[in-house]
Structure formats: structure tokens, C-alpha cells
């Protein structure tokens, strides 16, 4: 009845392979870019890439936790916008205030999500669909219907958060990496992470086994909101303005990133690191398409770009599930 050791090792290996499949795809794409495009491997492009994609990384991380518990958070894009406005409005009162304010605004929407889901028993998809609208409305209200809310230009610390460098790395990139390290510790080394996975794997069972299911769920939505808030802060700092209309469709990018990372939307399994890889992979495809266009060999209209992005998503997800399934079987 026990699996033989050889079989066991083989299955472990295959699980690894499936996890590293996306990583391999990422590395291959980078090599492809490096060989094909001049300026692709420049430090400038690297830091540009990180500055922009760190926001997607952070949102995907939050989304990953939510999806692990079997939920979904469609509100993140609007939360990014809301938090960026809050950060801009608070920027005259110091960088720290702005950071805390942005994250608190995100966490607050997350809390509302969590409470509606657990107390009113409304499904996450619908709840966060509603807050997607609501948070956008709030962002526009706070921004007084203007397209951008100017940041205090004299607050250098605030500007540094989005535009500065730390140890030659863009600060947003550093924030993202720190967040992912913390997220990884949280998921695999703390009981909370295990409990979140358990809730995703079987909510009723978790309840009967005595886990505080509601508290866990509320926590992951708060976490997702706070991380989206952090992304909003980066956005405001980087663009020098709060952006109430930004973030449209980010939730779908985040979901795609998580899925490409091999996490099941049904919850119960998943990995923080492959989410990072998944999110970066999707970002890279944009970068590569820009460079390809610049090369001028084949000039793609933006319309073709979305067709290609759709096809690419399909391809990666397929590869991912194929590899994953093969490892399951043995």
C-alpha cells in the first residue's frame, strides 16, 4: 500500500519539474530577449521592468493567499486605485503616514470583503465584484473626479518609495521581494499558512477540526487588500499622483499570474514563489512585445498583442497543468 521509495522520489522530482516549468519558461524568455534585442539586458530595462511589475507582483501575492483558501478577490484593481489616491492625499503629512494610510485603506476594503463573505455568507466572487465597483467609486470621490491627485512634490522620502533605488535595486522591487519572502514564510512555516491551505482544501472539514475558518478568511482578504494598498502606494509615488482610474483589469492579471504559477483556483494548494514567477512571466511578455515592435521586423498592432497574450496565457497554463498532472499520476 505504501509507495516504494523510488516511485516516491520520482514523483517528488516531477512535482519540482512542474514548479520549475514556469521558471524555465521565464529563463528561456529572458535568454531569448537577451539574444534578440539590444538594450533588453540593460540595467535600465531591468529596473524599469521591476518598477512596473512589482505592483503586479504584490497584487498577485495577495491574490495567491486568497485563492489558496478557495476564494477570489476581484476588488484588488480598484483597491490599488483607491490606495494610490489615499497615499497622494496623505503625502504632505509624511511618507510613513502615506504608507500606513495606503495599506490601511486597502486593508479596510479587505476587511469589508472578509466580513461580507463570512458574516453575510455571500460568495467571494460576488462580494468582491461589488467592492470592485464600490472601491472605484470611493477612489473617484476622494479624488474629486479628477484623473490624478497630485502628490506633495516636496516629500522626497515619498517619491523615493516609488522612484528611488536601494542597493542598486529599485525600491518597489525590493518591497516586492521582501513581501514575497514574508509571504513564503507565512505560508510554509507558520500554522496560519497551513490553516489557510486547509480551509481551501475543505472548509467544512476545517471547521469541524476546530479551525477558526472565518478569522482565517477575513485575514487573507485583509492581507490581499493591504498588499494591493502597498501597490497603490508605489503607483502614487512612481507617478507622482494618485490614480483613481488606474488598475482596471488588474484583478484578472493577478489571477492569471497565480494560475500560471500553478495554483489551483479551487484552493488547497499553491505556492508563493511560483506565483512570483507567474506574475513576472506575464509581465515579461509585455516587455518582449514592446521590444519586438521596436525591432520593426514585424510590426504588431496592439490588437494582435492581445490575441498573442491570450494565446500565451493558454499555452503556459496548459503546460503547467500538463506537467502538474503527470506528476500527480505517478
Amino acid at each position: 500500500m505504501m509507495l516504494s521509495t523510488a516511485v516516491k522520489n520520482q514523483s517528488r522530482l516531477l512535482t519540482r519539474v512542474s514548479q520549475f516549468g514556469v521558471l524555465a519558461a521565464l529563463v528561456l524568455l529572458i535568454i531569448f530577449g537577451a539574444l534578440r534585442y539590444t538594450g533588453f539586458m540593460s540595467e535600465y530595462n531591468f529596473s524599469t521592468f521591476l518598477r512596473y511589475n512589482s505592483m503586479f507582483g504584490l497584487v498577485s501575492l495577495g491574490m495567491c493567499f486568497v485563492i489558496l483558501t478557495g476564494g477570489i478577490d476581484l476588488s484588488v484593481g480598484s483597491v490599488v486605485a483607491l490606495a494610490s489616491v489615499v497615499a497622494a492625499l496623505l503625502s504632505p503629512y509624511g511618507a510613513l503616514t502615506a504608507v500606513l494610510g495606503a495599506m490601511a485603506a486597502g486593508a479596510l476594503i479587505g476587511l469589508i470583503n472578509g466580513l461580507i463573505i463570512t458574516r453575510l455568507n455571500i460568495q467571494p466572487f460576488i462580494t468582491t465584484l461589488a467592492t470592485l465597483l464600490g472601491a472605484r467609486g470611493l477612489a473617484l470621490l476622494l479624488a474629486n473626479n479628477q484623473g490624478g491627485v497630485g502628490v506633495d512634490p516636496n516629500n522626497a522620502a515619498f517619491t523615493w518609495l516609488g522612484q528611488g533605488n536601494l542597493l542598486h535595486l529599485p525600491v518597489p522591487g525590493v518591497m516586492m521581494i521582501v513581501a514575497f519572502v514574508a509571504g513564503s514564510v507565512l505560508l510554509s512555516l507558520t500554522p496560519f499558512g497551513r490553516h489557510a491551505l486547509a480551509v481551501g482544501g475543505g472548509e467544512d472539514a476545517s471547521k469541524l477540526m476546530g479551525l477558526p475558518v472565518n478569522r482565517i478568511k477575513v485575514t487573507v482578504y485583509v492581507l490581499s487588500g493591504a498588499l494591493a494598498g502597498l501597490a497603490g502606494l508605489i503607483l502614487a509615488s512612481q507617478l507622482g499622483a494618485g490614480q483613481p482610474t488606474e488598475g482596471v483589469g488588474w484583478e484578472l492579471s493577478a489571477i492569471a499570474g497565480v494560475v500560471v504559477g500553478g495554483t489551483l483556483l479551487t484552493g488547497g494548494t499553491g505556492s508563493v514563489w511560483s506565483t512570483l514567477v507567474g506574475a513576472m512571466l506575464l509581465g515579461l511578455i509585455f516587455n518582449i512585445l514592446n521590444f519586438e515592435n521596436g525591432k520593426g521586423v514585424i510590426s504588431l498592432s496592439p490588437y494582435w498583442q492581445s490575441v498573442i497574450r491570450g494565446a500565451f496565457l493558454l499555452l503556459v497554463v496548459l503546460l503547467q497543468t500538463r506537467l502538474g498532472r503527470r506528476s500527480d499520476r505517478s
Binding site: 530595462n45 524599469t48 512612481q238 507622482g240 499622483a241 490614480q243 482610474t245
Partner: protein, 300 residues
């Protein structure tokens, strides 16, 4: 720091960072740029930010990384693009702004970028208001169809119109709601507002698309567009100008998207060392029932 020089060459690799391509106006602008580049034999490196300022920043940066010769930028917003404009200058790439400007407090023409070519959105709103004031038939009740909430043309066209109207006095804006610059949404909003405010006799739309939607809405409600209710719009595309000719619309201010020739002429001039003012304002026409027929063939 000063503007980088541009060597005079027979061909250039030119970046064009478009904001979005979800409306006919933008499409016409892009096409004009592409056509002109092709005519001159230049290579156009084209990006589309799909309505996201953050993506547009990343797009411009990728152009910088690719070391294009010049960047044409249609900034989605006035503040966020300022840092990348400076980054381009520092990387030795001159930037020419199209159709929307950058906050002068953050970046200056002549030092940070070459110049701005475009129209004045506030002025456009004002021109519509001026026509209405001039053609005032007494007791004008206005429905305003706004553009996408938060976008700068929507805000400016509203500001220009509303301020002028308020100053003139005797006009009433019954309702002002967003129709998202889109025909279908504009139609639906107009249908609803006309139903709630049957006494409306003017519809001012921030662009042609919504105005055309409003004409459909008026017809569906059994009213005669252009007669029972005046329809005013901005942009001046062929379809709208045709409606002025047909009497379904009454006044359209042009906001010409054909930037190509002017933009590339400026590029070549800059390479030759010509000095440009901070703003090159397009000479936009307008179409009244009297002038529309004549202008129809040249409308974009």
C-alpha cells in the same frame, strides 16, 4: 540641463507612445502618425498604454531602453509622465508631446521636452458654449454628456463649457453624466436623461461618439434631433459633420487628430536646429449648418 541634439539623418527610429486605442479619434491619430512615418520611410515604434498611465510610463521607458531617436508622447495625464520625459532627455532622446500637455511645474518645454502640439480642450468647451450663447433661443435647458470620468479632456471640456455658460447666465444644465466617450453608453445615458428631463432642448456631448448616440436616443424618443433638441459636439469626424449637414446636429468643434504631418515636420525642423515655442496649437475648425457642407470632404 538642456535638450539633447538630434542629428540630421535621412531616416529615424521614432517612438510613439499612444494612450489608448478604443475610440475613433485615437485610431485616426495613430493612423495619421503611421501613414506619415511610412511616407517618410521612418521606422515607427508604436506602443499602446490601453488606458493605463502606469503602463504608458513603462512603455516610454522601454523605448528609452531601446534607444529610439525621438519619442512622440500623448501623455495620458499631466503629472505622471513628467519623470519619464526627463529620463528620456537624460538618455539623449528628445520628446515631443502630442494632444495633451505635461504639468509645467514638473517639466518645461525647451529644456525637458521640445514642444507640445495639440488643441486646447478648455477652449474647445468654450467655443461650444460661445456658439450656444450666440444662438440662444431663450430658455435653454442643457443635458451634458461627459467623457470618461476623470480623464483630462472630459474635465477640461466640461470646465470650458460650464464656466462660459455660467458667466453668460440664463442657461440651465439639467443633468451632466458620464457617457464614457462611447456611442452605446452615450445613447443609453441620453435616453435615460431625456426621459427624466423632458424639458431638455440642448445636448452637449464631449465627443462625436456620444453625440451620435444621443441622436439615436432622440429619434427613439420620437424627437427631432437638431430641431426639437440642439445637439452640440466636439471632434468633427466625418460622421458627425455629415449629421450637421443633414441637420441632425447643430454645431461641432473640430479637434483634429491628424497629427502626423505636423509632428514629423517638427521633428525634422528640430534636427535642423529650428527653435519652437512651448506650444503649437492646432488650428481647429468648427462646423455650423452653414459651413458643414463645405468642410465635409476634408473632415477626418
Amino acid at each position: 540641463q538642456t535638450l539633447p541634439k538630434l542629428a540630421a539623418k535621412s531616416t529615424y527610429r521614432v517612438g510613439f507612445a499612444q494612450t489608448e486605442s478604443n475610440n475613433p479619434w485615437r485610431l485616426a491619430q495613430t493612423k495619421s502618425m503611421q501613414d506619415e512615418a511610412k511616407r517618410l520611410g521612418y521606422q515607427l515604434v508604436y506602443t499602446d498604454a490601453a488606458g493605463s498611465t502606469a503602463k504608458q510610463v513603462a512603455d516610454v521607458r522601454s523605448m528609452i531602453a531601446q534607444k529610439v531617436d525621438v519619442i512622440f508622447l500623448s501623455p495620458r495625464e499631466d503629472k505622471p509622465l513628467a519623470p519619464v520625459v526627463k529620463e528620456a532627455r537624460n538618455a539623449g532622446i528628445p520628446v515631443i508631446l502630442l494632444d495633451r500637455n505635461i504639468d509645467p511645474a514638473l517639466a518645461k518645454a525647451g529644456t525637458d521636452y521640445v514642444t507640445f502640439i495639440g488643441s486646447d480642450f478648455i477652449k474647445e468647451g468654450q467655443r461650444v458654449a460661445d456658439w450656444l450663447i450666440k444662438n440662444n433661443k431663450g430658455k435653454m435647458n442643457i443635458i451634458e454628456l461627459e467623457g470618461t470620468t476623470g480623464s483630462s479632456p472630459a474635465n477640461d471640456r466640461k470646465k470650458g463649457f460650464d464656466d462660459a455658460i455660467k458667466k453668460a447666465g440664463g442657461f440651465k444644465i439639467l443633468a451632466s453624466q458620464s457617457g464614457d466617450f462611447a456611442r452605446d453608453k452615450g445613447r443609453q445615458v441620453a435616453e435615460t436623461l431625456l426621459q427624466a428631463h423632458p424639458d431638455a432642448n440642448v445636448i452637449y456631448a464631449h465627443n462625436d461618439e456620444m453625440a451620435i448616440g444621443a441622436v439615436s436616443a432622440l429619434e427613439a424618443a420620437g424627437k427631432k434631433p437638431g430641431v426639437d433638441v440642439l445637439v452640440l459636439s466636439i471632434d468633427g469626424g466625418k460622421e458627425a459633420v455629415k449629421m450637421v449637414v443633414d441637420g441632425k446636429m447643430n454645431y461641432v468643434v473640430e479637434c483634429n487628430p491628424r497629427f502626423g504631418p505636423e509632428a514629423f515636420k517638427t521633428l525634422q525642423g528640430y534636427a535642423k536646429g529650428t527653435k519652437y515655442p512651448a506650444k503649437i496649437i492646432n488650428q481647429d475648425r468648427d462646423y455650423t449648418p452653414q459651413t458643414a457642407a463645405a468642410g465635409l470632404s476634408s473632415a477626418y
